[in-house]
């Protein structure tokens, strides 16, 4: 599902990737015995060139920042997807997701909270919900 990321965030993300030398020859994993936090992969593609790095947990500052941004975008998009879907089928099921958006916004966990506003306006203006 395509969505738009603002130019500022794109610039920030690509700058962080550049700081990480586009993941070329960078070992990002902490290589310690810690719990499995999920396998994360960063991949950079430019024309025929493609580089990638996998890690479980990293202490690298730039990689952590990039990870936070991607995780925030994923979280935000998940909220939008689920609310849009439930709006068509089961409107009453939205309360918990709306609360999650409120908490995420309050804790600055959503990179672009303004993207959710049109959807929230739509819900607010819908007298049936």
């Amino acid at each position: 599902m395509p969505f738009q990321v603002s130019a500022a965030w794109r610039t920030k993300m690509f700058d962080l990737a550049a700081q990480l030398k586009h993941f070329q020859g960078q070992d990002l994993d902490v290589h310690r015995k810690i719990a499995n936090l999920g396998e994360k992969t960063f991949r950079w593609e430019s024309g025929p060139k493609s580089t990638r790095q996998k890690f479980n947990y990293t202490l690298n500052s730039a990689a952590s920042q990039l990870l936070q941004i991607f995780e925030g975008l994923a979280r935000q998009q998940e909220h939008v997807d689920l609310i849009s879907r439930r709006n068509e089928i089961r409107r009453l099921g939205n309360q918990r997701r709306l609360a999650a958006i409120r908490i995420g916004s309050h804790r600055s966990l959503l990179p672009e909270p303004q993207r959710v506003l049109p959807m929230l306006d739509q819900i607010a203006g819908d007298s049936a919900s």
């Binding site: 599902m1 395509p2 969505f3 738009q4 990321v5 603002s6 130019a7 500022a8 794109r10 610039t11 920030k12 993300m13 690509f14 700058d15 990737a17 550049a18 902490v30 310690r32 015995k33 810690i34 719990a35 499995n36 936090l37 999920g38 396998e39 994360k40 992969t41 960063f42 991949r43 950079w44 593609e45 430019s46 024309g47 947990y57 202490l59 500052s61 990039l66 990870l67 936070q68 991607f70 995780e71 975008l73 994923a74 998009q77 998940e78 997807d81 804790r107 600055s108 966990l109 990179p111 672009e112 909270p113």
Partner: protein
């Protein structure tokens, strides 16, 4: 003495064996100090690795995580067991304990400091969002127009257990669709 003081002040005390704390936080009960530090850092999204504040109370940071809340007062009681007071959120009330118990106070101070660092991180993220585009770092000259940056996370047992986001750099003219998102919660799959 700690348990008595807690009882006199109506504070609920829960006791966790070190292995229970380690298993909940690091995935196995024999995790080392360093592993616990890294896991606490990972779970709280902290910028710095927290210090183990007391040699016998490795769980000073992890206990709240194991107990299901991150803002409870925590201290060690007895040898080999870690107890948690669950009366009020950190910072809302005084500890309700006699003054001679110094170690809990030190531990609470450590907890406070680490959570402040966490809040600092969130504040910085907020400021980053608030910054206008021209305030962000300049573009790197090495970038090409057709570059794509992809992030993928596979984590069985989490929801969603698979996410993938691809961000395209082509920004002139402003893109209508600059990122794609895939998620697979359980059996569902959308692309």
């Amino acid at each position: 003495m700690i348990l008595l003081a807690a009882a006199q002040h109506g504070v609920l005390v829960y006791s966790y064996a070190p292995r229970e704390v380690k298993a909940s936080v690091a995935g196995h009960g024999h995790a080392g100090k360093q592993q616990m530090q890294l896991m606490v850092r990972a779970l709280l999204s902290m910028n710095e690795t927290p210090e183990p504040w007391m040699p016998r109370c490795l769980g000073g940071g992890p206990v709240p995580l194991a107990g299901g809340t991150v803002r409870r007062r925590v201290w060690a009681a007895g040898s080999g067991h870690i107890s948690e007071a669950a009366r009020a959120p950190l910072g809302n009330r005084s500890t309700g304990l006699p003054n001679e118990i110094d170690q809990p106070a030190q531990l609470v101070a450590g907890c406070r400091a680490s959570y402040r660092r966490d809040e600092d991180f969130l504040l910085r993220l907020f400021l980053l969002i608030a910054l206008p585009p021209w305030r962000l770092a300049p573009r790197s000259p090495s970038r090409s127009a057709d570059a794509k940056l992809t992030f993928r996370r596979v984590f069985k047992g989490s929801s969603p257990n698979f996410i993938e986001i691809t961000v395209r750099e082509d920004s002139m003219p402003p893109p209508m669709k600059s990122a794609s998102w895939t998620r697979t919660p359980g059996r569902c799959h959308s692309r």
